[in-house]
Symmetry: C2
Subunit: 229 residues, 2 copies
Amino acid sequence: MESRCENCIVRQFNSLRAMSKEELKKVSDSKVTKTIKKGEPLFQEGEKLNGVFCVRNGVSKLSKLSANGKDQIVKLASKGEVIGQRSVIAEESTNLSAVAVNDMEVCFIPKESINHTLQKNPNFTLEVLRHMAHDLKEADDVIVNISQKTVKQRIAEAFLYLKNNFGEDKDGFLALTLSREDISNVVGTATESAIRIISEFKKKGYLHTSGKKIAIKDERKLKEIVEGF
Amino acid sequence: MESRCENCIVRQFNSLRAMSKEELKKVSDSKVTKTIKKGEPLFQEGEKLNGVFCVRNGVSKLSKLSANGKDQIVKLASKGEVIGQRSVIAEESTNLSAVAVNDMEVCFIPKESINHTLQKNPNFTLEVLRHMAHDLKEADDVIVNISQKTVKQRIAEAFLYLKNNFGEDKDGFLALTLSREDISNVVGTATESAIRIISEFKKKGYLHTSGKKIAIKDERKLKEIVEGF
DNA sequence: AAATATACCTGATAAAAGTCATATTTTTAG
DNA sequence: CTAAAAATATGACTTTTATCAGGTATATTT
């Protein structure tokens, strides 16, 4: 519980690794470790954030509510990722909500502990910038995918993404289990449409399910679908 | 032609304002001013960029080619905006193509002139970071819009966007004239669908056209459409 | 000014995706 | 363990959007 950032493995994956010892000590002293249960929010769209969240365990969905009441999931953040940076940096309220997809352990880092480093340590700022540049590229890709691919293609792609980014358990099921509704919100479609296509994939033998858990049985075929046959 | 960055008004709008006098002098000495004619590319998706482009005049469309051969326009960059930053910062080839929508005047700034400042002047880096944070937020909004709104809503929104960001000429026509194909590529739809909806808007008296030029006649109504009646 | 190309427009049709209604299964809570 | 709730599933139908095919108008070039 009271572990130090200096020893946190998770730090290897994010911009905190560009901090000096003293800077990191300050972060470590001010951080608060929190446990968030599946389904609970880290924060809601429109809130002002007083800091960022560093994910130690679990996965959070970052989503935005549309006018018609549907959530669009924009990103799934897992171990090592820092959530809320954009809002803290731009000094704006968040444009996204963050909700735990499974039980999470996160460290809350007050923005004061970061702002100083952001203004004084260009290595750190540059590192944060690189991460954001990466996020922006991914967002561009999502835009193109959503507007140019069919729902079937996007769903096939979503499963490949889940496998590549979160892996599989010992039985071959996707390690990250999303509800059909979450899948439809990632893909940007109606829940019924997502369910229908998943059923079709099952019938055709590309997927296999057990309760909520889903396993990819024919990865090659899913890839072909993504490419458009 | 040989004007100095120090005196360039455009600089007020972008991150270059956070540079020191000496840094700015270096940029000014190494920059190359270029004229790009309507339809000509600044760079193509996949290219390695040796620097960034600062827009002095005109508008560039930033787009990404999808598997089915259609372009998706991700951003329209105009006076004061810096193009290519993402790629230079991440040290990757560009994920987007940039093509002039009308005649442009841009300054090419070699990456060497920027990288040093990026590593040494945290104010500058932070300023770039803030701009990128803003771009990322906009990208998130585009994702939600494309996935949750109908083509009709998105087209109505596109015209409001064009008015707000590029203004109108003395006759009330949108100052930035886009082809129907470009409009469809902004909105993420088939060209015929865009044309059809524009025709409908004309018939209903929301828009008025003269050649390629388009004027908004009933802004309130367009706003209502965006909101979903 | 004629010839060519390009952009714009429209109708007919097909395909894709959304909506509504209603089962059925799975999960959760008592 | 059982009842209730939530999630998943599927059918029937509607709406939205894409595609194809053929026009007309508008630029551009010669």
